[in-house]
Amino acid sequence: MKINTWFGVLETGKAGEILESRLISKDVRELVLYSLSLRDNKSNLPPEGFDPKAAALKCGFVETSAEYYSLLHEVTLEAAKLQVSGALTPDQRIIQAVEALDDVNETTNSLSERLSEWYGGYFPESGLGGEDLALFIAKYGSRENLGPQDPLYPKARNSMGAKLEPADEVLLKGFAESICSLYEQRRQIEIYIEDSMELVAPNLKLVAGPMLGARLISLAGSLEKLAEFPSSTIQVIGASKALFKHLRARAPSPKHGIIYSHPLINTAPWWVRGKIARAVASKLSLAARIDFYSGKKDPSLTEKLETKVLQIRTLNPRPPQKKQVSGAKPKKKRRK
């Protein structure tokens, strides 16, 4: 019978003796590729109890048992490395980027708040916040450095803020500069996600928009998993965080997954939102499947979705009438 081993194919006789062997050369790279190619192979599997080490010694592939193990070690190690590097597929890179973006956002927001609090003591009237404030401070430092042409000049002159001492100014400027670069970083990650989505999931990007699409992949765990989800699941993805919060802290129970941030849903009147969400989820599911299985971009997806949404809205122009029980008193609000 023929037997596949990581170092070649053996032809064995009735008693298991080796009749013939086609050995791979003792080159780690070649052995690695050959070994990986055998993973999905279903023919010539070694029989139960087959001993590849004994065979390798017998057919002369290696001289000693020590040599066998040392070569096997290198081959398994390199094969595993290759597999792990291949496991970082493009959709996994998008997931990393989405998670990095969330971290950067959180950090940026909390540092921005700190900066605003801090600088508020020196120029409370600036009316600036977020990136504008960080850019302002990084550029000018103290409000006294504003020129008379600057629109903020009058406010700065009459400010009730304290005087900014040089030592504090240096500190604040440095802090503001770090925040500016975080905002820059955020933009870079967003661009990366947009570009990658176009390559990896163009249809999902089309229907969901790049960020929502990327978040859906991230929450599902991979594009493959997202493509396998029924659209009813896609409709509630992302609600589970809110669900746990609900269970722990009795926050309101979540009905909406992250797809509710989709413009077609969040601009719709409340009484058709559920229907529209279902339509969007079903198109998202279709888009993810096309992306995973064929990858061809189909621009008609959005048109079809928009038509469908328009139809839902035309058929339901007014909120449904609340059923009035005649004679019933209006309910009092219950107090806790």
Partner: protein
Amino acid sequence: MAEVKKLSGGIFEIIKGKKQLATKNLDPGKTVYGEKLIQVEGIEYRTWDPRRSKLGAMVLKKFNIPLKEDSKVLYLGAASGTTVSHVSDIVSEGAVYAVEFSPRSMRDLIGLASRRKNVHPILADAGKPDSYSHLIEPVDLIFQDVAQPNQAEIAARNTIRFLKKDGYLLLSIKARSIDTVANPKEVFKEEVRKLEKAFEPGFEILNAKDLMPYHEDHLGVLAKLK
């Protein structure tokens, strides 16, 4: 001064105030998961935390651990290699085939394997032994800690292919991963039954004990072929 007591081949107890499980460090000077290194008479030992390792807990629960210096081990569910590292210490002249299917865990395992010549890492699904049958020799012990609903089946498939006739199977069974509501005792009984009739001629169960207080809802099982 520390005193060293040998528990079984390659497994030690170091008494230095308190008792600590340990193995001889095959990779001197290096720790793997934050365990302590202790020198006794020129030999470096690594302490072995039973709360981080089902196998470690089994040692303390007086399981007979059928490992020798030159044993060949198939380890299913290697994760990042916490326990694999101790097995590697124990079978210093043998081999550990470490199967793990999570690429993230494999990354750590690769780090470990690159420093330990007797660890052969394999990224594969333990439920599909065909996919790595071209790499594995008949082994003396299959150790399995996969925490999967079909763990009995996984054990059976690998045993048929790779376990020597006089080899052993050591299994950590997690109750939660099978059925989240059922009573753990019932689940364990059921799993042991499954194992006993998993295939012909089946396993003989030599020992089965819970791993309390080190691991909740876990059962250790030692078995051999009938």
